[in-house]
Symmetry: none
């Protein structure tokens, strides 16, 4: 199957927005073993969009159009698809109902233009239920299928994963099975990882056990750490699973669980929350420089309330003293971090306390350099702290501190030192 | 002048890299007043690259190819350009010398393959001096010019700014100035905005005061609200500024400051913090379902500490009772929201309290439906709350509540009702 992507939006051609949708879709297609040959970006212009869709259908079996499904005059994708396919647009009653229900659910007035989102090129299908107010479209054509998705990233992702990917998997005629596994690391640079794994990479070039091929790629995930992606091509499902398992274990043995915090869909917050639940421990947080990011990250997970009690965001120094009993002369110090962790336990009624205090910048604080951060951890009987130095970039320091603190808590819990 | 961009590299089609070069080039072209009609991404494949270049030359006067100028077998741009133009590649002696000098300057061994970078399509020009080891190429064709730039971002940018932009400026018929202004809104759907602005859009089609042209675009920013972007093309800087100012005032008059929270680089957090500072008020937050997101968002801003005291993230119900004195039977209610806002003031020693309590899901809480959220606000003498219903998407409800609460606080402060 040959795929190509069309991103729609004049803002992309003006350099006012980055086309992250195509990056995400490309990664997903690669995981499904579908070759993507072209990305194209077209503005909000009916003729050029129709021309591009027509050309793409000629040379590809799968054309995914992202964007231009909104309700305004700017949104031309539906009409362009109909023109390219040589069909009319039809209003589908069940889509009208779904859109009307969305608006009444949100208590928002609906305008007539919203009903343009219920138009579907004849012969095509609107994908329901929809995450926003625009359904994705699935439009088969002679020799392939054209998919249209809303440009809003979470809507595009949800529709692709829920409705599109399963259909594509069913359509792929593949002699071999492709499987991937992500191994998620935190705390080591890409080049240092590459050195540790040099002999593994060399082995993979010649290790074709049971006709399987394995490759290893690094995906720098910024504040999500570095992902190692194992990709295995094998003659059968079973052989693929066996090989991927072997490679995963080999990586874990080389890197160890201090570096590897999880696999595939694991996130640092899901791993920490699962660990707390397994150990039967609750968590209270005291954070200053991270401003609430640790609580925000933990509560990404549904069910966080099983272990997460809450957080005291003590941004002002007086709040550290009043609520968290910090008496240290400087609030960015080992003593302050440990006191904050202890008080987080006590004030929030939790078994374990985690704290972050630091200087995000732009200026020094109490003589402490920008980028200096302390993580504190406390249990009923133990307390400890860790000092880390980050750079001058405020946003980066806040984000790295959030993940760093959660990862150090993970290691502390795993080690059993909190007992 | 009609331009289009071609990005070359299989890693882009695999989703392993983001095409930041095209974003940067698009912005530069827009600043120069050159319309860019297409972006295309092609992998390291000779046929597809040649096909794309041929097509692009037919429909555009300026084709900029980024990437594929390296010394390896993967690097196919030079040959593809020659094939598309129907000419041979010629080795230019002064480029050979420049490359040789680069290597000896860096004390690096040079391989024969590096000399492939001295090949130039006949009739074209290699641009020297070069920042790396690949010169940019300037290849005129009947009706336009094809530019090739190395894919390494700093090389691409340096060659564009030094060699390409000045030539393009000289080629543009009527130098016009392009300016943009973003008007940021919260609380109304794109379609409802479009209805409010229908007559404005109609007027812009025929309003060419002082030879200026203004257009209006909607950019759905998800959890950043909807941005309206005014773009003005004018014969001079002064006329552009005057026209953009007129259009901004016209929008503000139609939409009002309840909907419009800021302009250009303003964010909801920067606007709220500036307003608090102007009014000489400090802020304390109590948030449950948002898990710390309000504090996190406010502390995106350096200097947030001037007004932001901190936040109590009361995720567990007992924390709401213990720390925030919430006695309401259900913790997702008007009473609970107001009590949380009052306690946030008191506990954190702030002038103004802001609270969020709600049900993010996945399950109902105390009989309250998923998606139900209350914002509370309190001053020394007043307290109020607002109920909002969101959908079933947990992440979306958390993010929309964060911005929604900050925006309602903005409106409350602006109205003076807190006094």
């Amino acid at each position: 199957m040959k795929a190509e992507l069309i991103a729609v939006g004049s803002e992309l051609l003006l350099g006012q927005a980055t086309d992250t949708n195509s990056v995400w879709l490309s990664e997903r297609l690669a995981e499904l073993g579908i070759d993507c040959y072209f990305h194209c970006t077209v503005g909000d212009n009916a003729d050029r969009l129709t021309e591009q869709i027509t050309r793409s259908m000629k040379r590809s079996d799968l054309v995914i159009v992202g964007g231009g499904l909104g309700p305004t005059q700017d949104d031309l994708t539906r009409q362009a698809i109909a023109t390219a396919l040589g069909v009319e647009l039809e209003k589908h009653d069940h889509v009208v109902e779904a859109i009307t229900a969305k608006f009444s659910q949100r208590n928002r007035p609906m305008s007539d233009s919203n009903l343009s989102q219920a138009l579907v090129p004849s012969g095509g299908e609107a994908l329901l239920p929809m995450p926003g107010t625009a359904p994705g479209l699935w439009c088969p054509y002679d020799g392939g299928v054209l998919v249209a998705l809303p440009g809003v990233p979470y809507e595009l992702k949800e529709i692709f994963d829920t409705d599109i990917a399963p259909r594509l998997v069913g359509m792929i005629d593949r002699p071999s099975v492709l499987k991937t596994r992500s191994v998620k690391t935190w705390g080591m640079s890409e080049s240092a990882l590459a050195e540790l794994l040099a002999s593994t990479i060399e082995r993979l070039d010649t290790d074709f056990e049971a006709d399987t091929v394995a490759t290893l790629a690094y995906l720098a995930g910024g504040t999500k750490g570095i992902k190692l992606r194992i990709t295995v091509k094998a003659p059968s499902e079973e052989l693929a699973d066996a090989r991927i398992q072997r490679e995963q274990e080999s990586l874990l043995e080389i890197l160890g669980s201090n570096l590897v915090f999880g696999f595939d869909e694991d996130t640092i917050e899901s791993v920490v929350l699962n660990l707390l639940e397994e150990l039967g421990l609750s968590l209270g947080v005291a954070e200053s420089m991270t401003g609430g990011r640790i609580g925000a990250q933990l509560t990404n997970m549904p069910g966080a309330s099983k272990s997460f009690r809450g957080s005291i965001v003590s941004y002002a120094t007086e709040v550290k003293a009043d609520l968290l009993s910090v008496t240290a002369e400087t609030v960015v110090s080992t003593e302050a971090a440990e006191q904050m962790a202890k008080s987080a336990r006590a004030v929030l009624g939790a078994d374990i306390g985690l704290s972050v205090t630091g200087v995000a910048g732009p200026a020094k604080q109490d003589g402490v350099e920008v980028g200096t951060v302390f993580f504190g951890m406390a249990s009923e009987t133990k307390a400890t702290s860790i000092k880390v130095i980050f750079g001058n970039n405020r946003e980066q320091t806040q984000q790295l501190s959030t993940i760093g603190a959660l990862n150090d808590l993970r290691k502390w819990l795993l080690s059993g030192d909190y007992r």
